[in-house]
């Protein structure tokens, strides 16, 4: 989600940042394009209007036009407004109440209520160690209650036994009683899908709400929803009173405008997002990170978190040390490639890096997939330890042997070597530079939450030239067969040194050429 919105917006804002000075009409022009980008992403019209007006009001002021980097100021204003629109803080599900805590799930037909109910139950059970009961109040759709029962079986979560012929109100009562008697911590009430203008059904929901007194009432909504999102969210909020929103199908290729709209018109936080068909494919919604992703600023905090979970910090530091001394050998490169795969491969990682979003398509076109990483590791594995330590000894004969050993061609071996050389050079240069990298590595341990938030904030203020530099270098390199994304990296202050895993990010660079 958000990818194509990100493409559009960063394109528009790029034009601005390239300018030395900005007139009011430049800003207005840019806002028209921002407006269109948001509309194409299904953000509701009234929300778009409100957004562009706010940005314009702030951007046209004297401060921006006279500041040294006006374009950058506008980008920052857009970013800040996006964050304001999405809500600044992540707000998880609140269970701070007398158990059994009732959670009521409402939404249109087919928005994913039942699946989401099971996912939340699964999460509360496994992660928060809560005792959860699920009950389906959907007496309308054929086999809906059966569906929840089966999901309960699959996830080993208790469901309220089905009693045929009961009304939703009766089921709600029964569920709460059962939850009290058996000392459940949480009781999840899954309701029938309903159209928000169906008065009878909305009244039924209100009845159920009055019976259950839910601590949370979650609106489950499809992230692919169009302009109707506003009416839908408003009606449910006014009629039933929701406490939060769960967005589903965020793993689709929608542009996620509904997320912005619903949060903006209801003021209710998006608490969770559904990102896949598996039980654990439910994530907290972090507005700040999403805003960064939308603007193509990357989601460095998520990247670092992921890295911190998966990367061997001691090893990373050892490599960093080697790098600074200029002794970065192929063995180290192989380690890095391995770690990159762990973090989620090229595409997963690139998606979170600033400025990469908009060139992602080009990268896709260049056959940049994780098979390349594997192949590169295969090439290195086919070398003798001696060759790995000193690649200089590789002559044509050795290269041919390595190529046939790894199922590649001598050209591929050459490309890998070239990439390694470039990286080693670059890293030497970088090692001499100060900045965030040094700070991060100096600490030794994994970065603290505060460090990460600070970095994200720094990214928000990032020199736009640096943001530009990366794609530009990339573009230059791509036709030649993608050797070093590396060229641009040093210009990204701070980024390289993330999480003590410094070497990994510069390691991003080299990928062999396009293979056809």
């Amino acid at each position: 989600m958000f990818q194509s919105l990100s493409d559009r917006l960063s394109g528009v804002l790029d034009k601005l940042t390239r300018r030395g000075s900005l007139t009011d009409s430049d800003v207005s022009e840019a806002m028209r394009e921002v407006r269109r980008a948001l509309l194409e992403a299904d953000v509701a019209l009234e929300v778009v209007r409100d957004f562009t007006e706010k940005v314009k009001a702030k951007a046209i002021g004297q401060n921006v036009v006279k500041s040294v980097t006006p374009g950058q100021m506008v980008v920052k204003i857009v970013h800040d407004e996006l964050v304001a629109m999405l809500g600044a803080e992540a707000q998880p599900i609140d269970l701070a109440a007398q158990p059994p805590v009732a959670i009521l799930m409402v939404g249109l037909q087919g928005s994913g209520k039942t699946t989401t109910t099971a996912k939340i139950a699964h999460r509360l059970t496994t992660r928060d160690k809560k005792k959860v009961l699920m009950a389906s109040l959907d007496t309308r759709r054929p086999a809906a209650q059966e569906q929840l029962r089966v999901l309960g079986e699959q996830t080993s979560i208790d469901t309220l036994p089905i009693v045929a012929g009961q009304t939703p109100q009766q089921i709600a009562k029964r569920a709460l009683e059962a939850a009290r008697l058996a000392a459940y911590d949480v009781v999840l009430l899954d309701t029938a899908g309903r159209i928000h203008i169906d008065e009878a059904l909305m009244r039924e929901t209100v009845d159920v709400r009055d019976i259950a007194q839910p601590h949370e009432t979650l609106l489950v909504a499809d992230s692919l929803t169009g302009q109707d999102a506003v009416k839908l969210a408003t009606s449910f909020n006014e009629r039933v009173g929701i406490t939060g929103i769960v967005l589903t199908r965020v793993d689709g290729d929608g542009r996620g405008g509904a997320a912005l709209s619903m949060r903006a018109v209801t003021g209710k936080p998006i608490k969770l997002i559904g990102v896949g068909e598996k039980w654990d494919a439910l994530e907290d919604f972090h507005p700040q990170r999403i805003a960064g992703r939308i603007l193509g600023m990357g989601d460095v905090v998520s990247l670092v978190e992921k890295a911190a979970q998966t990367v061997d910090i001691e090893k990373a530091q050892a490599i960093a040390e080697k790098m600074r001394k200029g002794a970065f050998d192929l063995e180290d490169l192989a380690d890095q490639l391995k770690q990159m795969e762990k973090i989620g491969g090229m595409s997963g990682m690139l998606g979170m890096l600033p400025g990469i979003g908009k060139i992602k398509k080009q990268l896709d076109g260049a056959n940049l997939d994780d098979k390349i990483l594997k192949r590169q590791r295969a090439i290195i594995s086919s070398m003798t330890p001696k060759e790995r330590r000193s690649p200089k000894i590789l002559d044509g004969k050795r290269k041919r042997r390595i190529a046939s050993g790894s199922g590649t061609k001598p050209e591929d071996v050459n490309k890998l070597l070239k990439m390694h050389r470039q990286m080693a050079d670059m890293m030497k240069t970088m090692g001499k530079r100060g900045g965030l990298m040094q700070r991060m590595m100096g600490g030794g341990a994994a970065p603290s939450q505060a460090d990460m938030e600070r970095m994200q904030a720094e990214l928000g203020r990032l020199d736009p030239k640096a943001l530009e530099a990366l794609p530009k270098d990339l573009k230059e390199h791509l036709p030649k067969g993608l050797p070093g994304l590396g060229g641009g990296m040093p210009k990204l202050p701070g980024l390289p040194g993330l999480g003590g895993g410094a070497p990994r990010f510069p390691g991003l660079p080299g990928l062999p050429g396009k293979k056809k």
Partner: protein, 358 residues
């Protein structure tokens, strides 16, 4: 890896070629009125007008659903045009209004451009604006309003129903089965959604309601295998129509789309001409992503026609205008409620009028 793309292209190519004959030949010249007249005598799967004493006709319900929202749209238009001349600002606002109905930016621009032609800076009444709006929307939709028809002498006539999760595939199958049964056809339903919990039970209940037999396997079974069995059985039993349900899938999930291709491949092993129709079910609340859905499902599953559901809410389904302009796929029916009768033939004129005239 190097030759894989070519292979795939070749495969899809073959796929499309094979799919072509099954697709109904587009006939833009055919007027909706003609289609409506033809429908009953051609033993079509369209809805017969329900008897007057039945609760509320589908048209009333559709119109009730659409007018709730179009009333606001037309109010807004009136608000703009009684006050001002037709200048650039006014046009931009009209464009916004169309965007708000999910028509999409390009379609909205096309329609406002048509509106502006020859009328620039002239006084224009709200009625005129609505008339132009209605005729533009109708113009885009008229060629695609073609009721679902079970044509040809394929026995069984195989209809595969596909779409994203939660759009209403199973419910739509139930409604179609009901109409076919009422026409006296023998219908077999295949519970191809072997993934979602209780989807099979859901279809079985529809089977009971409509008197159609249901072929099902255990949850988690291979849906292509099930499709094979269902088609074999339908052929042995000389059923008129086989309706195959599939699991909902997001169009950007490669593995799931591959699975769908496998279903098609396997069907063709039994009957090379199958499936005779592939219906994509679209949710009216979906925004611009519906375009992607049509594009990918058309490419991978050879979609031959569309059904739009959930038009009884406030969503206007304006994306259909953009979809028709881009793909020209027939829109067979619309879903206007959860009841067994709540499936109507798609009528471009009424749809456009309901949007533009309120």
């Amino acid at each position: 890896m190097s030759d894989k793309p070519e292979k795939r292209g070749g495969f899809f190519g073959a796929f499309r070629r094979a799919a072509m004959p099954a697709a109904p030949a587009p006939d833009p010249g055919e007027s909706p009125a003609a289609a409506a007249v033809q429908a009953p005598e051609a033993a079509a799967a369209t809805v017969a007008e329900p008897a007057g004493d039945k609760k509320q006709g589908w048209f009333q319900r559709l119109k009730a659903g659409l007018t709730k929202t179009s009333a606001r749209l037309s109010q807004d238009i009136a608000g703009i045009f009684t006050k001002r001349k037709l200048d650039a600002d006014t046009l931009e606002e009209l464009e916004d209004l169309l965007i708000q109905a999910d028509l999409g930016v390009d379609t909205a621009m096309r329609i406002t451009a048509a509106l502006a032609k020859g009328r620039h800076d002239k006084e224009i009444t709200p009625e005129e604006v609505r008339a132009v709006l209605a005729s533009e929307v109708e113009r885009a939709l008229a060629p695609v309003a073609r009721p679902l028809r079970i044509e040809g002498d394929h026995r069984p006539h195989v209809v595969l129903v596909v779409g994203v999760n939660g759009t209403g595939k199973t419910t739509t199958i139930g409604k179609i089965a009901h109409q076919l049964r009422r026409e006296g056809k023998t219908v077999l339903l295949a519970a191809g959604d072997t993934f979602r919990a209780a989807a099979i039970d859901q279809l079985k209940i529809w089977g009971e309601r409509t008197g159609a037999e249901v072929v099902a396997r255990a949850v988690g079974a291979d849906s292509a295998g099930l499709a094979f069995d269902a088609l074999t059985l339908a052929r042995d039993k000389r059923c008129d129509v086989l309706l195959i349900d599939t699991a909902g899938r997001l169009q950007n999930k490669q593995a799931l789309m591959d699975e769908l291709e496998k279903v098609l491949r396997v069907l063709r092993k039994v009957d090379p001409s199958a499936p005779h129709q592939v219906l994509l079910v679209l949710d009216a609340t979906t925004g611009q992503n519906a375009l992607n859905q049509v594009e990918v499902f058309k490419d991978k599953a050879g979609v031959t026609g569309l059904v739009m559901t959930k038009l009884d809410g406030t969503a206007r389904g304006g994306i259909l205008v953009a979809i028709s302009a881009k793909f020209g796929l027939p829109v067979h029916a619309i879903g206007v409620g959860e009841g067994i009768e709540d499936l109507s033939a798609f009528d471009a004129r009424e749809f456009a009028r309901a949007i533009a005239l309120g």
